[in-house]
Amino acid sequence: MDLFEYQGKQFFATYGIPVSAGDATSDVDEAVAIADRVGYPVVIKAQVHVGGRGKAGGVKLANDAAEAREHASNILGLDIKGHIVKVIWVEHASDIAEEYYASFTLDRGAKKYLGMLSAQGGVEIEAVAESDPDAIAKIWIDPVDGLDEATARAWVEAAKLNPAATEGAVDILLKLYRAYTEGDADLTEINPLILKPTGEVHALDAKVTLDGNATFRHPDYEAYDATQNRDEREQAAHDKGLQYVGLDGSVGVIANGAGLAMSTLDVVKQAGGEAANFLDIGGGANADVMAGALEVINNDPRVKSIFINIFGGITRGEEVANGIITALGRVQIDAPIVIRLDGTNAEEGRAILEPHLGDALQMQPTMLDAARKAVELAAGR
């Protein structure tokens, strides 16, 4: 789950990481009231899950209430790379002496936590990694050991931050590590981490991705789930508990298993088409789940044909076939469907499907044949 900046800052604040005084709102009058409360000058920032918002006019400085009103009304509703701004964050503007970068994430290759710290902040860390890789001080942390103060201190020294920032940086890194581990985050990133002229160190931005698998430990994360960036189709699928990702093509895809579903998208592409979605209905492929999946796909106006790709493992072909027929009886489907059924008792399953076949429901022997047929049908409509 990706958090918006304002959620990330609230998340950071619970771990004691210093952030600017501010608040989030969707209302211009309230934005001005927040600005009055935190004190001018203020920064008004668009809350979107996409980079480059500053360049797009989504971050503005306001010196008084009139400017705050003007910027708030301009930024709310702004389209930033296809993301419409619904929420803005208003905070007291900070004096900045220097800008740094700090983050924790998992290094999947090393199977350890990776901490990155750099004296070059405020720019994309990928750009720093490319132009000046030595400017990023990296440490690998064994989850069993954790991060202690002496290690954090040596790390800050290695990153060559201004010595005036050392104490503040060590304190924030230890808290950021706690937020990363105890908060079950996939990523905690501060960019920029600033040193103020007064010597304080402070998180000016917050990028946080939480592990959705850990919500059982954090019931409050459900609030974040509700604000995830999903299109209408993804929201509908999410509400039905389906593993769905919306794409831009015209062939709707239903498959059992994440690997097979990904593979199905690839084969559609090889056949000259584009998939409208990724949808994994899991190993069982029962009628209820199939019906829900068909409903989601059917409501997608992009979909011109549907490719159901099922491999029977423990679940036998006849069970899968009966599930499909039952589901089709419950949902009125507009687009033609192409089925490929293979694996355990595939013959028996195909025999069950046979009497239902026609223009609206077709069957193909292999994955590639079925993909070609689905692409051909989509192109013809």
Binding site: L106, R108, K112, P143, A258, G313, I314, G343
Partner: protein
């Protein structure tokens, strides 16, 4: 031969009294796996269709001599279950459970490496392991796998994806090719067993003649495997990587299947494998065909 498990492996099922544990535990026993015990703190002293239930893994090991465990415990309890098995002396731990928090995985992976270096962990979020004709631990459909035949050319399979593993087993069965062992390492960010662990074991197994490796987007496990193959694997390898068309930044079903920026793309993985001499198919069927050609040429 087979790798990691065979007909002599005695397995305790942690969570055998739950619905999933019972269903697959009994299927595994029917297949021929030595399912010698189950654990449940509240149901110790009872049995599941004749399989004795113990309060702890330690009790089960003491009574039955089990050396492997298969975990069907819900995600919140997996960390504790893995450590309980390791502390009881279990050497091969299979975690089927999906949805284990990444920080738990990272913690018990490193804890096992440090304090229980002999333990081989498989999973979490994996279909398990099958040595066809000998043992099936997990949720793989046993009848779609053809057992290895002594004196013939047999294949070892390692895969990050469940259904694509079944597809591979099935296609080899259709072609009359036997399988020594098929290992589903799972699609999570910190898998206990890696491609490299399996490649090394298959390389050392005299009955395995060729290796099929099924990967997917995300992380760098396939690239690391390609390096390992170049340096250490003499047997031919055929491969398929799922997710060529996956968009960046979206998790494709598996927690670990995500392209981050330019890292973890299918194309990068295919290029690395080809450079290591691996035959890479563009879809599962093509990879199966490549394996048929490899076997015919041996």
């Amino acid at each position: 031969m087979s790798i990691f498990v065979d007909e002599n492996t005695k397995v305790v099922y942690q969570g055998l009294t739950g619905s999933q544990g019972r269903y697959y535990g009994l299927l595994n026993r029917d297949y021929g796996t030595q399912v010698v015990a189950g654990t449940s703190p509240k149901k110790a002293g009872t049995d599941v269709d004749g399989i004795p239930i113990f309060a702890t893994v330690a009790d089960a090991v003491a009574a039955t001599g089990a050396t492997a465990s298969c975990i069907f415990i819900p995600a919140p309890g997996v960390k504790g279950a893995v450590m309980e098995a390791a502390e009881a002396g279990i050497e091969f731990i299979v975690v089927i459970t999906e949805g284990v928090p990444a920080h738990d995985e990272a913690w018990f992976y490193n804890k096992l490496k440090r304090d229980f270096p002999k333990v081989q962990l498989l999973g979490p979020n994996c279909p398990g392991i099958i040595s066809p004709g000998k043992a099936n631990i997990g949720i793989t459909a046993g009848h779609i796998a053809k057992p290895a035949v002594a004196g013939e050319k047999n294949v070892g399979i390692v895969s990050r994806s469940g259904t694509l593993t079944y597809q591979a087993l099935y296609e080899l069965q259709q072609q009359g090719i036997g399988v020594t062992t098929c290992v589903g390492i799972g699609g999570d960010p910190v898998p206990g067993t890696t491609f490299i662990d399996c490649l090394a074991a298959f390389e050392a197994d005299p009955e395995t003649s060729a290796i099929m490796m099924i990967g997917e987007i995300g992380g760098s496990a396939e690239e690391e495997a390609a390096e390992f193959i170049t340096a250490n694997v003499s047997k031919p390898v055929a491969s398929y990587i799922a997710g060529v068309t996956a968009p960046a930044g979206k998790k494709m079903g598996h927690a670990g299947a995500i392209v981050s920026g330019n890292a973890g793309t299918a194309q990068g993985k295919m290029d690395a494998l080809r450079a290591a001499g691996v035959k890479v198919g563009l879809n599962p069927t093509e990879a199966g065909q490549l394996m048929v050609e490899i076997i015919a040429g041996l």
